[in-house]
C-alpha cells in the first residue's frame, strides 16, 4: 500500500489536547497589560501620555533592558548569567583607567572588550569545562566586583573629558536619545538573530533539549559560549550607558542588576529550564516594569512599596502562562 493512498484514509487524531490557537499568545497578554497600565496612568495623572513622560520612561529602562536582552539569550540556551552586574562594573572601570588618554576608541573599546572577555570566561567554564553556570557566574560576579574595586581603589571616575563616551548617555542617534535608540536597535538586531538566522533554531534547540541538539549536529557548546559573550558585551554596553548618563563611573554601581535583568527576562516569557523566551517579550517586560515604577513614582509611593508591587506584577503576569502549561501537559 502506497503512502499517499494511506494518507487519504487517515483521520485527524482525536487525542485530548487544547487547540493551538485557543489561548492568546503570551506576548499579546504582555502588550495588553502594558496598555492597561498606560491607560491607568492617563486616568491617574494628567499629562501622563506626554512625549516627555515616554522619554523618561524609556530612558529609565534602556540600560537594564539591553542587559536583559543578553540575559534572555543565555536563559533560552538553558543557562543563567548572574555576573551581569559585575561585568557592567568591571567593564566600566577598565574603560575608566584609559580616560586620561582622552581617546574614545580606547575607552569605549576597552569597556566592550572587557565585557566580551568576561563573557568568554563564563562561557568556556560553563560550556567546555562543564561547571554549572549558576556557580560560574556567581563566582564571576564576586570576582569582577572585587577586581573593579582593586583597580579603582574604590574611587569613582568622571568621564567628562571624553565626549563620545558621554554621547552614550546623553547624545542623540536617529533623532532619539542614544540610550533609547540603542534599546530599540539592539532589540531589533537580537530579534533578527533569534528569529531570522540559523543561530535561532540552534539556540532554542540547545536550550530545549541539549542532547537532541547535539545529536542533530548542533554545536551546543559553541552556541552557549556565543550567548555568554553576547551577554557580556551587552552588560558592558548597559553599564556604559548608565555611567555616561550620570557622568560617573562608580565601582559600587549596579547593585542587584542581575536580579532585575533576570526578573525582566522571566516576565518576558523565558523559562529558566531553557528553550523558551523571546526578545520582544523581554522588551515588553522591561516596559511593563518601567511603567509600574514610573506610575508609583508619580503617585509618591515609597521605594520599598514599589519593589513589592513590581514583584507582584511579575507574578501576576507570569502566572497564567504557567497554569496553561500545566493544563497542556
Amino acid at each position: 500500500m502506497g503512502l499517499a493512498e494511506q494518507s487519504t484514509i487517515q483521520r485527524v487524531e482525536n487525542r485530548p489536547r487544547l487547540p493551538d490557537r485557543l489561548v492568546v499568545g503570551p506576548d499579546a497578554i504582555r502588550a495588553a497589560v502594558l496598555i492597561v497600565l498606560l491607560a491607568a496612568g492617563a486616568l491617574l495623572t494628567p499629562g501622563y501620555l506626554s512625549l516627555e513622560n515616554f522619554r523618561i520612561l524609556l530612558m529609565s529602562v534602556a540600560a537594564v533592558g539591553i542587559v536583559a536582552y543578553g540575559m534572555t539569550l543565555v536563559v533560552i540556551s538553558g543557562e543563567i548569567d548572574l555576573a551581569v552586574a559585575g561585568t557592567a562594573v568591571l567593564s566600566a572601570i577598565v574603560g575608566a583607567t584609559l580616560l586620561d588618554t582622552g581617546s574614545p576608541v580606547l575607552v569605549i573599546g576597552a569597556t566592550l572588550v572587557t565585557g566580551l572577555a568576561i563573557g568568554l570566561v563564563n562561557g568556556v567554564l560553563t560550556a567546555f569545562v562543564g561547571i554549572p553556570s549558576l556557580i560560574v557566574t556567581l563566582a564571576m560576579l564576586g570576582i569582577s566586583r572585587a577586581v573593579a574595586n582593586i583597580i579603582s581603589r574604590g574611587q569613582a571616575s568622571y568621564p567628562d573629558s571624553v565626549a563620545a563616551y558621554l554621547w552614550f548617555g546623553n547624545g542623540k542617534l536617529l533623532g532619539l536619545p542614544t540610550p533609547i535608540a540603542l534599546l530599540l536597535s539592539i532589540g531589533a538586531l537580537m530579534v533578527v538573530l533569534t528569529r531570522f538566522t540559523t543561530f535561532g533554531p540552534a539556540l532554542y534547540a540547545t536550550g530545549g533539549n541539549t542532547k537532541a541538539a547535539v545529536l542533530s549536529g548542533i554545536r551546543a557548546r559553541s552556541v552557549k559560549l556565543s550567548v555568554f559573550m553576547i551577554c557580556g558585551v551587552l552588560a558592558a554596553t548597559g553599564g556604559m550607558i548608565e555611567s555616561a548618563r550620570l557622568s560617573y563611573i562608580n565601582p559600587a554601581a549596579f547593585a542587584g542588576l542581575e536580579l532585575e535583568a533576570l526578573a525582566i527576562t522571566v516576565l518576558g516569557g523565558a523559562a529558566l529550564a531553557g528553550g523558551s523566551g523571546s526578545i520582544l517579550g523581554t522588551l515588553l517586560a522591561a516596559l511593563i516594569i518601567g511603567v509600574v515604577n514610573n506610575l508609583l513614582n508619580q503617585l509618591g509611593v515609597s521605594l520599598y512599596t514599589q519593589r513589592v508591587v513590581t514583584a507582584l506584577v511579575i507574578l501576576a503576569v507570569v502566572l497564567p502562562g504557567y497554569k496553561r502549561r500545566q493544563i497542556a501537559k
Binding site: M1, L3, A4, Q6, S7, I9, Q10, R11, V12, E13, N14, R15, P16, R17, L18, P19, D20, L22, F196, T197, T198, F199, G200, P201, A202, Y204, A205, G208, N209, K211, A212, A213, V214, L215, S216, G217, I218, R219, G275, S276, A328
Partner: protein
C-alpha cells in the same frame, strides 16, 4: 452469576473540540486477562485515566462487583482495589526496592507494622508470591529495567488489588524479559485477579489475553475471545481498513560497495573488538538483548561515545569521528530510539525540528531562507504522511507515531548515505509502523546503507539483509538473510 470484578459502563468523555470516548463499555472477570488495543489516539489513555480517577467521565460509570465507584483520584482507585502498573516507571532510584514498594504509605494506618523490617518482610512476601528473584534491600537505581518493572508490580500488589491494569508494560523490555513478565501475569491470573492489559505488541496480546476489546476513535469496535481471531483480522479492526502485511516486508535489492566498515572498535566499559561492514543498499541488523551494548556501538560510530581503539572507514577511507557533527559531515544519520530524550526538541515546532539537521543548507549568509525551509518542511510532511495541524505546531502535541516520523524526516532532509536507525517503531501504532518500515526499505533501495537496531527480533528478521548478533559487548555471530533462523539467532545472544 456474580457481577464482574470491574465493569466500565457506557463511559463518555469530551475535551474541547473532540470526543475522546463515547459509550465505552467492557468488563473484567476474575482470573481473566482482558486486553485493550487500539491505535494511538483511539482513547486508551483517556480510558485508563478515568479508571485511575485522574479524569471524570462525562457520562457512564465504573462498577466494582456491581457497586458504582466514585473515583476522585488514584488513591480512590487503590482504595477500591484497582491498581495500575504504569508505562513509564515512576520509581525513586535512590530508594530501596522495599521503600519504593511502600512509598507514601510508611505511616501505620491500621496497626500493621510499617517499621523498616516490616516493610522489607512484606516486600519479600510479595516477591515470593510472584516467584521472582529480587533483593528488597537493593537500590532501585542499580536494577535493570525489567527488575524495576517487577518493583512496580510489587507496588501494585501491595495494595491487595482485585484488578491490575498494565499500561504498555513491555515498552522498554526485550523479548526474554517480556516473556518473563508475561509469566508473572499468568501467575497473577491464576490467583484469581482480573487483569487489564494494554500493549501495542500484538504477539503479546495473543500470548496472554483471554478476551480483547478493540477501541477506535473513542468507540468500542468490538470485544472478542482471543482464540477466535487472527492477527490480520485484529489489526483490521484497529485501523478500520484491511491490513496489508506486505508493506512491512523486505524488498530484494542489489547491494553496492562497502559504505562503512568498523574495524576492531573498542570503547572501554562498553564493547571491545567489534568489526562489521555495511554495504550500499543493505540493511544490517544488530540483534542482542538489553545490555549487549549495541546502542553503544552505534553511538560510538556517530561520535557520541569515545572510541578507545580500532578504526572506522567510510567508502574505503579511514575517518576520525570525534563528535556527532563530524559524523554528520561524513554522511552518517542517527535516529535514536528515545525520541523525547534524544530525537526531538519537544517545545519546538515540527518545522524547526525537521530543519535542525540542515540549518547550514538553509542559510544565506547566516540568514534563514524561510521559503526554502517551508518547502522542505512541506515535502517531508507529505512524504511521511505525517498528521500535523500546521508546520508550526509544537511536536510535543503529536502522537508517538507522528513524532517518530518527524525524527525520520529530519534525517531524510539531511540525505546522509549511511543511516543508523535505533528502534524506529518503538511505541508506534500499526499504521505508522508500516509506513516507517516502508520508508526504511525505500531508503535502502535508493542505495543508502542502513544499520538497524530493533527490540523485537521479528522486526529485524522482516527488514534486514544481514544480521549480526551481539552479546556482552562482542559480536558473536552473523547471519545472511537466506540463513535467518529466529531460534539460532536468539541462542547466539546468550551463548
Amino acid at each position: 452469576m456474580t457481577a464482574p470484578l470491574l465493569q466500565v459502563q457506557d463511559v463518555s468523555r469530551s475535551f474541547p473540540g473532540v470526543k475522546a470516548l463515547s459509550d465505552v463499555s467492557f468488563s473484567v472477570e476474575a482470573g481473566e486477562v482482558h486486553a485493550l488495543v487500539g491505535e494511538n489516539g483511539a482513547g486508551k489513555s483517556t480510558l485508563l485515566s478515568i479508571m485511575n480517577g485522574l479524569l471524570q467521565p462525562d457520562e457512564g460509570q465504573i462498577l466494582a462487583e456491581g457497586e458504582p465507584l466514585t473515583l476522585g483520584g488514584p488513591a480512590d482507585a487503590i482504595a477500591h482495589r484497582l491498581a495500575m502498573v504504569h508505562q513509564e516507571l515512576v520509581l525513586c532510584p535512590n530508594l530501596t526496592v522495599a521503600e519504593n514498594v511502600f512509598l507514601g504509605r510508611e505511616t501505620a494506618a491500621n496497626g500493621e507494622s510499617r517499621s523498616n523490617q516490616g516493610v522489607v518482610a512484606r516486600t519479600q512476601a510479595l516477591i515470593d508470591e510472584i516467584k521472582v528473584d529480587l533483593d528488597p534491600n537493593a537500590l532501585v537505581g542499580d536494577l535493570s529495567l525489567n527488575e524495576r518493572q517487577i518493583v512496580e508490580i510489587c507496588r501494585a500488589l501491595s495494595s491487595r488489588p482485585k484488578v491490575i491494569v498494565f499500561d504498555e508494560p513491555t515498552a522498554s523490555l526485550d523479548d526474554e524479559q517480556t516473556e518473563h513478565l508475561l509469566e508473572i501475569i499468568r501467575k497473577l491470573r491464576q490467583s484469581g485477579l482480573g487483569i487489564v492489559y494494554v500493549s501495542h505488541r500484538l504477539s503479546e496480546i495473543f500470548a496472554i489475553s483471554d478476551r480483547i476489546t478493540v477501541l477506535r476513535d473513542g468507540k468500542v469496535v468490538g470485544t472478542t475471545r482471543a482464540e477466535g481471531i487472527t492477527e490480520q483480522k485484529l489489526v483490521s479492526m484497529m485501523v478500520g481498513r484491511e491490513y496489508d502485511p506486505s508493506s512491512m516486508s523486505y524488498r530484494e535489492r542489489n547491494l553496492g560497495e562497502v559504505a562503512l566498515e568498523a574495524i576492531n572498535l573498542t570503547s572501554k566499559g562498553h564493547f571491545a573488538g567489534v568489526s562489521f561492514r555495511v554495504r550500499k543498499g543493505e540493511i544490517l541488523g544488530i540483534a542482542g538483548l538489553l545490555g549487549c551494548q549495541r546502542e553503544a556501538v552505534v553511538r560510538a560510530i556517530f561520535g557520541a561515545l569515545p572510541v578507545h581503539a580500532g578504526s572506522i572507514e567510510i567508502h574505503g577511507k579511514p575517518v576520525r569521528i570525534g563528535s556527532p557533527r563530524q559524523a554528520i559531515d561524513h554522511g552518517i544519520s542517527f535516529m535514536p530510539a528515545d525520541r523525547k530524550d534524544e530525537g526531538l526538541v519537544l517545545d519546538m515546532s515540527v518545522e524547526d525540528n525537521l530543519c535542525l539537521t540542515v540549518l547550514d543548507s538553509l542559510s544565506a549568509g547566516g540568514l534563514l531562507r524561510s521559503g526554502k525551509r517551508r518547502d522542505l518542511t512541506r515535502s517531508l510532511i507529505a512524504r511521511l504522511a505525517t498528521k500535523v495541524s500546521s508546520r508550526k505546531q509544537p511536536v510535543r502535541g503529536l502522537s508517538g507515531g507522528n513524532q517518530q516520523k518527524v525524527v525520520i524526516g529530519k534525517w531524510l532532509a539531511r540525505k546522509g548515505d549511511i543511516v543508523i536507525a535505533e528502534d524506529p517503531t518503538r511505541g508506534v501504532d500499526i499504521g505508522a509502523k508500516a509506513e516507517i518500515w516502508s520508508v526504511l526499505q525505500e531508503m535502502a533501495s535508493e542505495g543508502k546503507a542502513i544499520i538497524l537496531i530493533a527490540s523485537e527480533l521479528e522486526e529485524l528478521l522482516g527488514a534486514c539483509d544481514r544480521i549480526i548478533a551481539m552479546n556482552r559487548g562482542r559480536v558473536t555471530s552473523e547471519y545472511l538473510r537466506k540463513d535467518f533462523d529466529a531460534e539460532a539467532i536468539a541462542h547466539s545472544f546468550v551463548a
